[in-house]
Every structure is written in C-alpha cells, then in structure tokens.
C-alpha cells in the first residue's frame, strides 16, 4: 500500500508539514521524511490489504505517532532556549540603545538651528542699526526677536517632529522626561522671543544685549545639561533591558 494515498495519512502529513512551517526547510523536510518512513514501516507490520484493515492500521499507527501538533511542539521546544533569547533581545526599534544618542544629537542640532537663525536675524537687525537710526532699530527689535525665534522654531520643526516620534514611542523615558524632551526646543524659541524684548523694556539696549546673552548661556548650558541627563538615564534603561 502506498501510504501517502491513504487520505488520513496524507492529511496527517499535510497538517504536520504546515505546523512545521517555521522550521528551517532542511530540518522540516528531515522531520517529515522520518515520520513518513515511520508510517510506511509501521503499516507494513500490521495486517493490511482490505479497506477495513487499511483504515484500522492507519488509525492505529497515527494514534501511536501522536497528534501533529505534539510533534511540532517537540520540534519547536528543542529550540525553546535560543528562541527565548531572541525574543528577549528583540527590543522595539524605539527602545534600542542608539535611540537616546540620536535623539540627543537631533536636539543639539535643533538648538543650534534655533540659535543660528535667531543669531543671524539679530545680526541683521544690528547691522541695519548702523545704517539707519538707532531708534528705528530699537523699535523693531522686540518684534524682530519674536519673528527670529519663530523662524528658528519653524526651521527646527521637522527635526522636532522626528524627535517627538522617537521619544513618544520609546520606552526609555518616563512620561515626565518625554515632556521635558519635547519642551526643550519650544522653550528655547520662546526664551529667544521673549528674552531680548523683556531685556529691552527693563534696561534699554544694554538690557537687551545682556538678556540675549543670558538666554544664549541658559540654552547652551541648561539645555546641554538637561539633554545629558535625559540621555544618560535612557541609556541606563536601554542597557538594563538587554
């Protein structure tokens, strides 16, 4: 009797083949061949010939083999240890160790962009002050620092969106740290917008220059310190998760 022609055997081998689908093809073929040969051999040992005898023999042999899913389970259980290791190291993309570093670099780049845009606009305004009267420049200064900060914010917006996505989906920061991360650039832009105007209204041209430098120092030192802290704590979590 050709065993693969018996519908029950064909179905059994089909089921087993499907359940072994995640095995490496060579290993899958080897297991299937072993089982098929086992069935052929075992059927030869039993009375067969008539349809009733064939059915009974096939049923008995398949029962002794056990359900296909038990065989598949055994095949996968052999690999349980490496499979577990793999799932443990399969950290979500946004929670890998490189994410904090990339986010920190993007943040630094955003801050640099804001500073450059603001700095160049202010420089332009100061330059115009040498050509036109000081009073006219002073009057536009408040408005222009807001415009410059706004422009800086806009230039940094694409980077901020990337940062927001990385930080938002990552499991490496607490909710508070995430909010901090996302506020760094907007707060910087806000400081640059409000600082010089405030300085102007408090202390005239000198006050404006002092406040502008204060904001710059605050952004570079405070922002740098903040980013460093956020990156270190995220890196610690990333290595702990590994």
């Amino acid at each position: 009797m050709n065993v693969t022609t018996h519908p029950a055997v064909a179905r059994y081998l089909d089921d087993l083949g499907r359940m072994l689908g995640d095995l490496e093809p060579g290993e899958r073929a080897e297991v299937l061949a072993g089982v098929r040969e086992h069935i052929e051999e075992a059927l030869g040992d039993r009375p067969h010939g008539s349809p009733q005898e064939d059915d009974a023999a096939v049923a008995a042999v398949l029962t002794e083999l056990g359900p296909p899913d038990v065989i598949a389970q055994a095949a996968y259980a052999d690999r349980a240890a490496p499979a577990d290791d793999r799932s443990a190291t399969r950290v979500p993309l946004t929670s890998r160790a490189w994410v904090p570093v990339v986010v920190a670099l993007l943040q630094a780049l955003s801050l640099l962009l804001v500073i450059l845009v603001v700095g160049s606009s202010v420089g332009w305004v100061e330059e115009s002050s040498t050509t036109s009267g000081g009073e006219t420049v002073v009057r536009t200064m408040g408005g222009s620092s807001i415009a410059a900060a706004l422009a800086g914010g806009l230039v940094a917006l694409p980077l901020w969106i990337v940062i927001a996505l990385l930080v938002g989906f990552s499991a490496l920061w607490t909710a508070r740290e995430k909010v901090t991360h996302l506020l760094v650039v907007p707060v910087t832009a806000l400081l640059f917008a409000a600082g010089p105007s405030l300085g102007w209204s408090l202390g005239g041209p000198t006050g404006m220059v002092v406040s502008a430098w204060t904001v710059l120092t605050l952004v570079v030192a405070g922002g740098g310190w903040l980013l460093y802290r956020l990156t270190v704590s995220a890196r610690r979590r990333a290595s702990a998760a590994r």
Binding site: G34, H38, G44, P67, V70, I71, A74, D78
Partner: protein, 115 residues
C-alpha cells in the same frame, strides 16, 4: 497548581531523552521505528512516537548521530541512525553527570519522606 505526572515527565524527558536515544545506538545503528518501539515500550521515555523525529533530526544536525540507508528484508530501504564519536562522548559526559544527579534527587526525596 500542582503539575501532573505527565507534565513533570515532559520536563524530565527534555533533558534526558536525547541521551537515552544516543545510548540506545551504542550497540549499533537502529532505524526510526525500531528506536520508537523501544522507547515507547514503557511509555515513560516517549509518550508519542512522532516526537522522536524532531529529536533525531536535531541530533543529526548536531553531529551526534549520522544516517545511512540499509536494505530492508521487507519493503523499501530504511534510514538507520548510528552514533558518531561525538555522540559517544556526549553519552559518556551525560552518564558522568547523571549518576550523581540521580543519587542527589533520590536522597532529597527519601529525606523528605522520612521527615
């Protein structure tokens, strides 16, 4: 939840069955059905014959057994499994670990009983 006897056996087999199969090949090559029949004789070592084949495939891929085809007095040629030198060394290492392990488990169980 107290695990049933079958669940406990499943765990115990996982560490020992492959060495039992290897040891069985110590006297010479055997074919799949033959190994399965010997192992299921008391249904302690093997519950379902089919689970033997993933194990044999793994042993062969690990280089502990090798397969050869031999003519069968009845029917098509048979795939025989033979132990390699590496397989022999693996069984010997298992035997060295097993005896103290078995004694320690026995001792722990008897100690518990007498208390």
């Amino acid at each position: 939840m107290v695990p049933g006897q079958e669940a406990i056996l499943t765990h115990l087999r996982r560490g020992a069955l492959e060495y039992c199969v290897l040891a069985m090949l110590g006297d010479g090559p055997l074919y799949g059905l033959d190994i399965a029949r010997r192992l299921t004789a008391d249904s302690v070592l093997l519950a379902s014959e089919g689970t033997l084949y993933p194990l044999l495939a793994r042993l062969r891929r690990a280089g502990l057994v090798e397969t050869t085809w031999q003519e069968s007095p009845s029917g098509p040629p048979r795939r025989y499994y033979a132990m390699t030198d590496q397989g022999r060394a693996a069984v010997a290492a298992f035997a060295r670990a097993w005896t103290p392990f078995r004694d320690a488990v026995d001792a722990a169980l008897t100690q518990g009983e007498t208390r």
